[in-house]
């Protein structure tokens, strides 16, 4: 049994981290108007009077976004609120067309959930405070060559992103290390990809995460002063940024200093965090219920229906792979750790019986080649049917496992059918006993020493003889048959 919620103490300090993650939903249209979502489109081409905040316009809720957010809340084991409303969050900034953001406040879509994060030798249960829905802002583009606001004469605004549905997932301060924070985000991303409600691309900004970090002396129940870290825009930067911040704070506290409550920016070039603004500059957002929208009521029947729509999630899948297919925990976790692998695996299992063989290929050669070429599984030229037909060629003795590796490589790069690759290529395994006997006789004749050893019961010697046969056939001999024939002839 894995250990639960282990205590992590470093140099007498405990790290306390809470995360706020923003996920852009992959709905067809924006949160409150009919504009298409448009990553990468011509600036300001996907806008209308509503998402530009023109006078007199009104928001209308995108129902799909509500459903997506509820799915996320359910998958995070949250209580889905039967009555939920939107609030206005008021502050001035040029990327916000109305100078208020329609968001949620005290009645979010979901609350009080958790996500179990597998840390290998222990599991960290991270409490989910809330899952709420809001609209994204536009994007400011600073015109200077560095793209930094301080080095630009002017800024321009692209409102294409304004109004994109955004789910914010806030954790309890339950995370105890930078590594846990990273693993939480990996698990959260995987979960959301399973739900198929966002593409969760950190590069494109559809998954963004800010962290609240503090340290406290081991054994202390009270919280240290926290800082909020922004710009943690990849898994690697998240871990490195948080590691830096934790050691920075521990350094301050252990030398008798005080951490200042502030928002800090992670700089991935210097690998440090730098202050952005202090608490005194914090906004009073003047939240109040959005009067342009009506409350959303979710009845029991609807909630039940939505629960049924939640697909099998990684944890459940992993358990099933172990019980139904006899996979090891390690294999099951690997495959379910990425929805694409799980789907590929399941596709194979519809056509083929040997789960372990499929798992081995997926985890071995297949993932190695994908990594080498920086491809996603879905972009690969190999589909489930092709992999299975290659496995069947191995099973029937047509190719050796060794030859299969080069066949696989050709399949990977050219997308050719495995049967086609081996036909006429001379790669096909020699399983003709007559042909093999001729070669084996020759090997026995020219290697009297090892033959004598084998006769004396030194079983190891057979390896050498088989090797000789393989060398003469350029690896095409069926090794099982070669073994059999040698033993028959010598004993």
């Amino acid at each position: 049994m894995v250990q639960e919620n282990k205590e992590l103490i470093n140099d007498g300090y405990e790290t306390v981290i809470g995360l706020e993650t923003h996920v852009e939903l992959s709905t067809a249209t924006k949160m409150f108007c009919g504009c298409a979502l448009s990553f990468g489109a011509e600036p300001n081409s996907c806008t209308c009077p509503v998402c530009l905040g023109h006078p007199g316009t009104l928001p209308v809720i995108n129902e799909k976004a509500i459903l997506y957010a509820i799915k996320i809340a359910l998958a995070l084991n949250c209580t889905v609120n039967k009555y939920t409303i939107f609030h206005r969050k008021n502050y001035f900034y040029p990327d916000m067309p109305k100078n208020y953001q329609i968001s949620q406040y005290d009645l979010p879509i979901g609350s009080n959930g958790y996500l179990d994060v597998d840390m290998g030798d222990y599991t960290r249960r991270v409490g989910i405070t809330r899952v709420h829905l809001e609209e994204d802002t536009g994007k400011l583009i600073h015109t200077g060559s560095t793209g930094r606001i301080s080095e630009s004469a002017s800024s321009i605004v692209d409102f294409n992103r304004a109004g994109t549905p955004l789910v914010e997932i806030v954790t309890e301060p339950d995370i105890r290390s930078a590594a846990e924070a990273k693993e939480y985000l990996v698990a959260l991303r995987n979960l959301i990809l399973y739900l198929d409600v966002s593409d969760c691309s950190m590069e494109e900004g559809s998954l963004r995460c800010d962290a609240n970090v503090s340290v406290r002396p081991a054994g202390s129940e009270s919280m240290g002063t926290k800082t909020e870290i922004k710009n943690l825009n990849s898994f690697r930067f998240m871990q490195r940024g948080l590691e830096y911040e934790v050691s920075r704070q521990a350094g301050i506290v252990s030398s008798g200093g005080k951490v200042i409550q502030q928002t800090r920016h992670y700089d991935n070039v210097t690998d440090t965090t730098k202050p952005l603004r202090t608490k005194e500059e914090a906004h009073d957002y003047r939240y109040f219920p959005e009067p342009d929208l009506v409350p959303i009521h979710l009845d029991k029947e609807q909630a039940g229906k939505l629960k049924e729509q939640i697909p099998e999630l990684p944890g459940q899948k992993s358990a099933r792979y172990i019980s139904d297919f006899g996979l090891s925990l390690y294999d099951a976790k690997f495959l379910t750790g990425d929805r694409q692998y799980a789907l590929f695996f399941e596709e194979c299992m519809k056509l083929y019986k040997n789960a372990k063989a499929v798992a081995n290929w997926l985890m071995g050669d297949f993932s190695a080649l994908l990594n080498k070429e920086s491809l996603n599984l879905s972009e690969s030229k190999i589909n489930a049917a092709k992999l299975v037909s290659m496995l069947e060629l191995i099973d029937s003795g047509k190719i050796s496992s060794k030859i299969a590796k080069s066949v696989f490589e050709e399949m990977f790069y050219k997308g050719t059918d495995p049967a086609e690759i081996i036909a006429g290529s001379g790669l096909e395994q020699i399983s003709d006993e007559g042909e093999l006997e001729l070669i084996i006789d020759e090997v026995i004749k020219s290697n009297p020493g090892p033959v004598a050893q084998l006769k004396d019961g030194k079983e190891k010697a057979i390896g050498f003889l088989v090797g000789q046969v393989m060398a003469k056939t350029k690896g095409k001999a069926n090794p099982r048959l070669v073994n059999e024939i040698i033993l028959r002839k010598i004993k």
Binding site: N90, N99, D284, F288, P291, D292
Partner: protein, 496 residues
Amino acid sequence: MELPLNFYPAHKLNKMLRQKQVSASEIVDAVICAIDKAEARMHAYLRVESKEMAQAAAGFDSKSDALAKNGSISDFCAIPIAIKDNICTKGITTTCASKILSNYIPVYDATVIKRLKAAGYILSGKANMDEFAMGSSNENSYFGPVKNPWDLERVPGGSSGGPAASVAAGTAICSLGSDTGGSIRQPASLCGVVGLKPTYGLVSRYGLIAFASSLDQIGPFTRDVEDSARLLNVICGWDENDSTSIGSAEAGSQDYTKYLGCSIKGLKIGVPKELMVKEVDGEVRQKVNEALALAESAGAIVEEISLPSLEYALSVYYIIAPSEASSNLSRFDGVRYGYRNRDAATLRQMYKKSRAQGFGPEVKRRIMIGTYSLSAGYYDAYYEKAQRVRTLIINDFNNAFKKYDVLISPTSPSTAFRIGEKAGDPLKMYMSDICTIPVNLAGIPAISIPAGLSSEGLPVGLQIIADTLREDNIFRMAHALEEAIGFDSHPMYLYK
């Protein structure tokens, strides 16, 4: 004396158009002629569409035979209607009578404008108002006040002073205004016309530049109750662009004219004593009582009632409306449209200077009150508490409507006051809406109809309030009282 065409109600003009007794050009000419004579003294319009009106009328006349043949001369075909300048008209400046939107040209039509266009209306122009609909005298317009057509020294009421004055003076046949705390009914009362605030959500707010979203409602100004019902027929109904609009795509539309000419025998009228407060002028009180007597003699039952929480309505309103306004008006920042200060060196300065120079004093006052009410540490004591008292007010009305079909009160405690008389005293000014504000807080419908003229020759208005979506009761009572009162005065002196 024969009334000129521009003083006819739309339903009469429509009948004449159908019977070819009049052409659209003749109607429009009469309106343009009145505008030429009176508008400069009255300032009811911020923009007059004379040329476009004439063109539209000529266009109508050239195909009127064909239109008549296939029966498509609908109620407001070729009728010149003034639109309050906070209702978006595509391609035509919509300023909210504010410097900050003085150059703003909407890229879309409000839903009510789309519906009027489909009905064939003619836009006479954009009507003057208090800046962002904040005011009760129309003295808060950046472009200068509107004068009351009955006495040019006096205010027309507000905030829809322009829409009210234009109908009263015959410079429009009807108009649309907006009512957040009385902004249709109070000027209708002071100008001697009919002004209706429909049930919240009955008319789409899409395209109405928001003052206080939970209170705002568009409604018609007309010469009589029949026009009011007909114009409501055109503008009401569910709108997919307004989440707070009532009904659904499937629900059919109402015909409010079927409640006209009905007997009011047995209808129960409640007279809330909280709306007959000491601030109500004696003459106003007398006119209302005369009307109540007329209702009684027509068979209605009149009883005095009490709605105790109405006492707090004004206080509640001046928390909720400014709170919503402070947020609604934050989009006016000089970034994307409207007035921008060009001397600012920083973003913050641009915001501050554009807004400081773009908004007038009353708008700033309300933004500050609202911002304060919503601030951390004050929210519970102000906004939250106001919402709770609002619920009490709603409950009071609900209870009253269990027993009564309509409630009747004065619309405004006084007749039109002099320009400048209350301008320096916001609290005194706010009292002008004491009878109308509770209605907005409850989201229920109410109408103001003329109850007669005071001894000074100024119109007195009477308010009829009904339960949610009971416009039927409003029209029943209003039409009966209109006939009984027989108000038929117009400020004809303007044209002598």
